[in-house]
Amino acid sequence: MALLRGKAWVFGDNIDTDLIYHGKYLPLTDPREMAKHAMEYVPGMEDFSKRVSPGDFVVAGRNFGSGSSREHAVLCLKYLGVAGVIAESISRIYYRNAINNGFLVLECPNISKKVKTGDELEVDPESGLIRNLSSGEELFAHPLSGLEREIMEKGGLIEHIRSLMEG
């Protein structure tokens, strides 16, 4: 997996799935429509989808993605072009959903305290090394496990299962 570079958007602890993608939008299926509502319920972030640029990172504190199993909460960020989520901890279902959709998630201690919104990050998904190019600081995320990397490299669980079924 190649090195990634993008700007950070820093959020707090317990960014739940309703903040990421509110329940009322669950009937939507058009990716562009879904992307528009990403992070809309986070106070002060109503227009996140207009402000973020493709390749940017969502950085957060503890327990990112807690709550619902809705994959829309992963897909809306992916469709928006966000490069990945780096948080101090990530809810179990969100984490799996992200990997299964080939969307990068990394758990990195203290990241929300060491990075400010607007900082430029360079991320190595393979090793978990995160360079904050704005501050010069280096941070270490837990690297993905073998199976997680395998699924990610294929672009998600759909491709992974398809190759299993064909094999």
């Binding site: 317990n14 739940d16 309703d18 903040l19 509110h22 329940g23 009322k24 669950l26 009937p27 939507l28 299926t29 319920y41 106070p43 503890r62 327990n63 807690s66 709550g67 619902s68 199993s69 809705r70 994959e71 992963v74 901890s89 809810s91 179990r92 279902i93 799996r96 959903n97 299964n100 959709n101 496990s145 199976l147 998600g156 669980l157 759909i158 299962i161 398809r162 299993l164 079924m165 064909e166």
Partner: protein, 421 residues
């Protein structure tokens, strides 16, 4: 070293060695989805190249979130699910009018059993652990994979044990126990963990209260909740279980990551304040908080015992003039029983609306959405910002007893107080 009940259940479903933190591949006994998660799963399932589901008997589909269809988009989703059920020969499809809220329905139908490995594309799929099985919520893509292969990979969770002693006060039940517990350990206090509930308090609890406890483990970040089966479990399953089942219990020397132990004899009814299920206080500390809406029902508290408690409090009394009350029986069977027992008449006489089973109001979908500035006390499971409607609305989580008492008082009130007055 002994094993926990969860480790034993997983071991019975895999060839891999089960140890905490290991990745295993486990066989699935039931894999289900609803009207919002099934459409994505169906699309993924087809993209995976699957031609049939691994075992149509082990798949269930329950339209419950935006049903009865709230708009055209929702109707299209529900239609897609129905057509898939027909095309793939899935018998356990529960149409509106013959089903209800998935996590009240599936155990009522005897489709979730002790010793099972169950996955549902809904985070509250952890509910069934109350029967002594491994049950967890997954996303649609994981579910599609299980439909295709009949198995799924899991990381074996470490187990935390929660032991409750003492004798509960009147009007204190499963909802208060789980709110208290989340208040103590926080919304990520059991992240990735199995939560095993035990102690004399649990043994005394009826099954309906046990389902309520396991339903909300996800609100502490838990992967699953579990209660060892006992004579109450077996009695519940008599005449209901659709398959044979297997009872597992934790070894006395099983390894727990952490053990919490509390005496609940003095516990008063608990309420979680906005905007977190861990923001918990005793009901006596919240007196005077005015409410605009009261919701009684959902996968957390939409069972017969929940309605019985609400009816006991509302009987012969009137809902406060400034309050609207919406009561949702969890399933058609619960609804019918409540009708026979006179609860529905009690609710209507008191001035409450009784709705058909749906998840609608809990997730701000339909059938009870909050306006800007409104406050709701609800027996549901989440009170995140905007959960039940407008971003500037407020949700307090409580038991059916506290919700019913608050409906009469027009503000958050304890059942004891209302019953005295």
């Amino acid at each position: 070293m002994g094993k926990t009940i969860i480790e034993k259940i997983l071991q019975a479903h895999t060839k891999d060695e089960v140890k905490p933190d290991r990745l295993i591949e486990a066989d699935i006994d039931l894999a289900f989805a609803n009207d919002i998660t099934a459409p994505l799963a169906i699309e993924d399932f087809k993209l995976m190249g699957a031609k049939k589901v691994f075992d149509p008997e082990k798949v269930a589909l329950i339209p419950d979130h935006f049903t009865p269809n709230k708009d055209i988009k929702s109707a299209e989703q529900a239609k897609l699910v129905k057509e898939f059920a027909k095309e793939y020969g899935i018998k356990h499809y529960f149409e509106v009018g013959r089903g209800g809220i998935e996590h009240v329905l599936l155990h009522e139908e005897g489709l979730t059993l002790p010793g099972d490995v169950i996955i549902g594309a809904d985070s509250h799929s952890c509910t069934y652990g109350a029967l002594g099985c491994f049950a967890t919520g997954v996303g649609s893509t994981d579910l599609a994979a299980a439909w295709a292969l009949g198995k799924l990979w899991f990381k074996v969770p470490r187990t935390m044990k929660f032991i409750y002693h003492g004798k509960l006060k009147r009007w204190v039940g499963g909802k208060d126990i789980i709110l208290f517990t989340i208040g103590q350990i926080g919304v990520d206090g059991a992240l990735y963990r199995a939560m095993e509930f035990s102690g004399d308090v649990i043994r005394e609890l009826p099954m309906d209260d046990r389902f309520t406890i396991c339903n909300m483990v996800i609100e502490a970040g838990g992967k699953c909740g579990v209660i060892e089966p006992d004579e109450k479990t077996i009695e519940y399953l008599n005449g209901r279980a659709k398959r044979n089942y297997r009872i597992f219990k934790s070894d006395p020397d099983a390894e727990y990551e952490k053990i919490y132990e509390w005496d609940l004899s003095e516990l008063e009814p608990q309420v979680a304040m906005p905007h977190s299920p861990a923001n918990v206080k005793g009901v006596s500390q919240l007196r005077g908080v005015k409410v605009d809406q009261v919701v009684i029902g959902s996968c957390t508290n939409g069972r017969l015992r929940d309605l019985a408690i609400a009816a006991e409090i509302l009987k012969g009394k009137k809902v406060h003039p400034d309050v609207r009350v919406i009561i949702f029986p969890g399933t058609q069977r619960v609804y019918k029983e409540a009708l026979k027992l006179g609860y529905i008449e009690t609710f209507i006489e008191s001035g409450a609306a009784v709705s058909t089973p749906t998840c609608g109001p809990c997730l701000g979908g339909h059938m009870g959405v909050l306006a800007k500035g409104e406050t709701c006390i609800s027996t549901t499971n989440r009170n995140f910002i905007g959960r039940m409607g407008h971003k500037d609305s407020y949700v307090y989580l409580a038991s059916p007893a506290v919700a019913a008492a608050s409906a009469i008082a027009g503000e958050i009130a304890s059942p004891e107080e209302v019953m005295k007055g």
